[in-house]
Amino acid sequence: MSQKNRLSGGQLNRSKPLNFTFDGATYQGYEGDTLASALLANGVRLMGRSFKYHRPRGPISSGSEEPNAIVELRQGARQEPNTRATIAELFEGLSAKSQNHVGSLKFDFLAINDRLSSFFAAGFYYKTFMWPKAFWEKLYEPMIRRAAGLGSLSMQDDPDAYDKGFLHCDLLVIGAGPSGLAAALTAARSGARVILADEDFTPGGRLNSETFTLGDASGADWAKSAIAELSSLPNVRILTRTVVIGSFDHGIYGALERVSDHIATPASGKPRQILWRIYSQRAVLAAGATERPIAFKNNDRPGVMLAGAMRAYANRWAATPGQTVAVFTNNDDGLRTASDLLAKGVKISAVIDSRADGPAFQGAEHLRGAVVTDAHGRLGLSSISVKLASGETRQITAEALGVSGGWNPNVHLTCHQRGLPVWNADLAAFVPGTLPVGMVVAGAANGRLSTAGALASGAEAAAEALEGLGLTVKSADLPQAEDAPVRVTPLWYVPHKGRAWLDQQNDVTVKDVKLAHQEGFRSVEHLKRYTTMGMATDQGKTSNISGLAVMAEMTGKSIPETGTTIYRPPYTPVPIAAFAGRSAGADFRPKRLTPSHKWAAEQGAVFVEVGMWLRAQWFPKAGETTWRQSVDREVLATRGSVGICDVTTLGKIDVQGPDAAEFLNRIYCNPFAKLGIGKVRYGLMLREDGIAMDDGTTARLAEDHFVTTTTTANAVGVYRHMEFARQCLWPDLDVQIISTTEAWAQFSVAGPNARKLLQKIVDPEFDISNEAFPYMGCGEITVCGGLRARLFRISFSGELAYEIAVPTRYGDGLVRAMMEAGREFNALVYGTEALGVMRIEKGHAAGNELNGTTSALNLGMAGMVNKKKDSIGSTLSEREGMNREGAYNLVGFQPVDATKPLLGGMHFINQGAPADAKNDQGYMTSVAFSPSLGHSIGLGYLKDGAARKGETLRAVNPLAGEETLVKVVSAHFVDPEGERLRG
């Protein structure tokens, strides 16, 4: 199809024709086109269907405010629903589909909704679909859901990359129209660090769409030269294709740069888009204004568009929506559209001015004091009905109608911090009111709609902002430009019994607003929520104010009395992927690897996520078909001879200083003051509310030097807590702390042969015999011929066990050396599963037990809370509720039938009692199959558990409809007297 509606001129690169498809048909446009301008040039006006009534729709705008011409752009995993054709840059091979229709775009079966529209008035669904009850989920809702929605997702993972970045400036200029350029030039020439951001791919704003001259240059050329100067300056950064999406606290702005959306696919390694966080000292908002329509019967026909948009298509994109067009305006600006299109050789069938006293217009029939009352042509405008001043109605031929109801300043970003705009009666529009700190508003966004006014106010705004920063301002010499006054006589809608659209995407008509008023939904927020006006993808940019005006008329109040709706971020919709940036999929969060990771991977270990860490879970051997086989083997081999486990992930905090001991004494509920040098002690840490926070061992390496360990999960929180105590509670305690978690590779060596193995690693001058280095001893030693190391005789498994630490870079070497040394003992490395089994066999509490709701008493450690000293949490742990009858105690469980498995999360019920909440006795926290005992074992919290050893209870799992009889036993399943670990 030829470009039958392509005009002469425009800012297109005609030497670069581009082929594209829309709904399967192939078309041609030029570099510089948008999808919408190219389709219009090809004579295509019908581009979509409306949300509710599935009405045929074409573009009404040439920008990001577009409610109608929204399409599914691209194919496959890159399919983008709801993309505005009016800002989608044309590229070779672009393919787009119209959306939200069943059947073809021309013959949408759901257009039946339009015929039934009187049944679908505002809020109808709140009043019906209630009977029979069951039908809502089964019938009505699925029906509604299928019909609703707009475009569709591909359901495939987004293949593109997204970046985030951070920029800093003295002045952020938002918008590169006349006022933004004037502001940027002023600031740049004054030496300020300037960022100039514009959502368009060609800076200049309306200058690209108007025929005005600035000085002796065309608007577009002046913009080009301004950009050229700015680009040449080192203190200026120009971001095109970049929407400033939001204004946040303290001068922080979010901006979305569309890096690759104008090409078929991003270059390798390059992002599709970048979300910038811009830190600004000051900002000039020069976002321009948005034209508003006038509502009349069938004003949503394809071909009816905003007059300024029609002008933009003609002047910038050399495209017209029709060969014969009419213009309908209530202000002078609309007349420009008629003259510009005339100049381009387009036939103007009539200029309809609702004002009887509007200025005269030459070159086409001029109907003053007249209004458009209807539009004809279902799939595209063919003619309009006009009610003349005389009262008679005339039919006028028009393939397109340009409508201007006046201009609304784009105050959106001034509202993002809850600032309210104020009404300006001369403009019949809201202008900025209270502003975010540091923001100045310029140009049309501030109601200065003439080109000269925009230029001047841009320069003034920059000057004001810079003076605020104490910079001396060099004023920019501004060109001569038109300075026409705004002459507008408000006309929001043309009264008629037919439907006149306010929110075109959501199909909200004047009638709906009247119905909302009739039913008492009169506050603006109620109006929005009840009618859905302004809730569409265009966020009401062309509808909110008109709807408000209609409501004002109903209530008999003024528009400002009726209220305003404040705008929320983002200014235009932003892909969810852009907010996520690089932190998606497997890169959601960083990975932490243990010192033995490389070795473990070589051994074919199965890894598991533990917080940010990846830890070896078990080490499968050839022939093992289930994880249980591997884990049982690792446990038995460790208890039978010796096993090694990488425990580096445990938090390590170096605590030094003369008051270190006293500090620990207050951090832990049990005493530390008298811990001997070369000794280790277990510590229980409480939150101030008396609930267990963390536990671990603390080793005293010197009078003024301790190393304390935390659980893997709580390492960060415990460090923060210690700094709080050190800086905020006891600022004069002379203690210094620092994390050394990653500095040392630490391995547990456990089992009857642990000492024998270590004696081959530890340098001979260090005696680690039971006598010289007893249980709970520690020391700084050397290994493997002189490498500094630390040795702690502590046991999580209940075996004779040590933890040995070397500088992390040697961890890989140490595990290899220990495996070599351990060969004669069949030493192996065990994973976190075997570690877990052995700690449960030994009855040690861990994360499942320290779940943030358990006290020392619950853990069976009430005796550890020393009352002779102050320590965090000791006072509030005295509250009655935490020491009441029936409190949970941690105890052990084993199945009465040894073949039965246990499950974490089972609840306990007394035998003979019904299994319900009233009889709930507690729950299982941790379970394991104990290869040492040959049956499952568990730890759990049981009401008064300490006093109930020997009882038999039901362990129920209603989720699976199972239950098992369990016996309450001591939590210490293996070596309860602790002979092994002392041996």
Binding site: H168, K270, P590, D732, T741, E742, A745, L787, R809, D812
Partner: protein, 195 residues
Amino acid sequence: MADPVLKMSPLKPITQLGGDLPRKDSFPGLTITERTDTALASLSARQGKPAEFHAAARAFFGFDLPAPARSATGGAYTAIWTGPEQWFIEAPFATHEDIAPILKRGFGDSASITEQTDGWGGFDLEGEGALSVFELLSNLDLGKLPSGGASRTVIEHLGCILVCRAAGKSYTVYGGRSSAASLHHALMTAAKSAL
């Protein structure tokens, strides 16, 4: 050439990325190099004897400890301010592998000293491209960070120490050693994107 690190100890060390030798990657205007030849320790002043402490520092290093957000270099040592009354000390690994006792001898009980050498994994970014890479990673205004500037910050959810060796062209990023692979991945991804 063989890295001296690798001969020092009876046990064979590996780099933070798990290799035998430091990894190096090149981009237009930037090289990213794994830093393995640095010994690190934290130096914290104890309370009540600031004069003694700072005198010891001056005597030991031959320069005054740097102010907040700054680093200072002299002889074998670079001191990086990391917190109130706390500095990280860099020295050549080959000669200062046991940096903690070395410092201890200089400061006695006026300071608390903790070995940090393997607590961190560092990467050196050399070249004019560094700033546009950091623009995608760090919220700091690095354009304004002078030579010798240093700051702790967050990169891709990782706590890092960033040292400016030469403004605009030479930087070191230290991140937790266990997440060195993730930090390296972030640096590489940003470099591919920016350069």
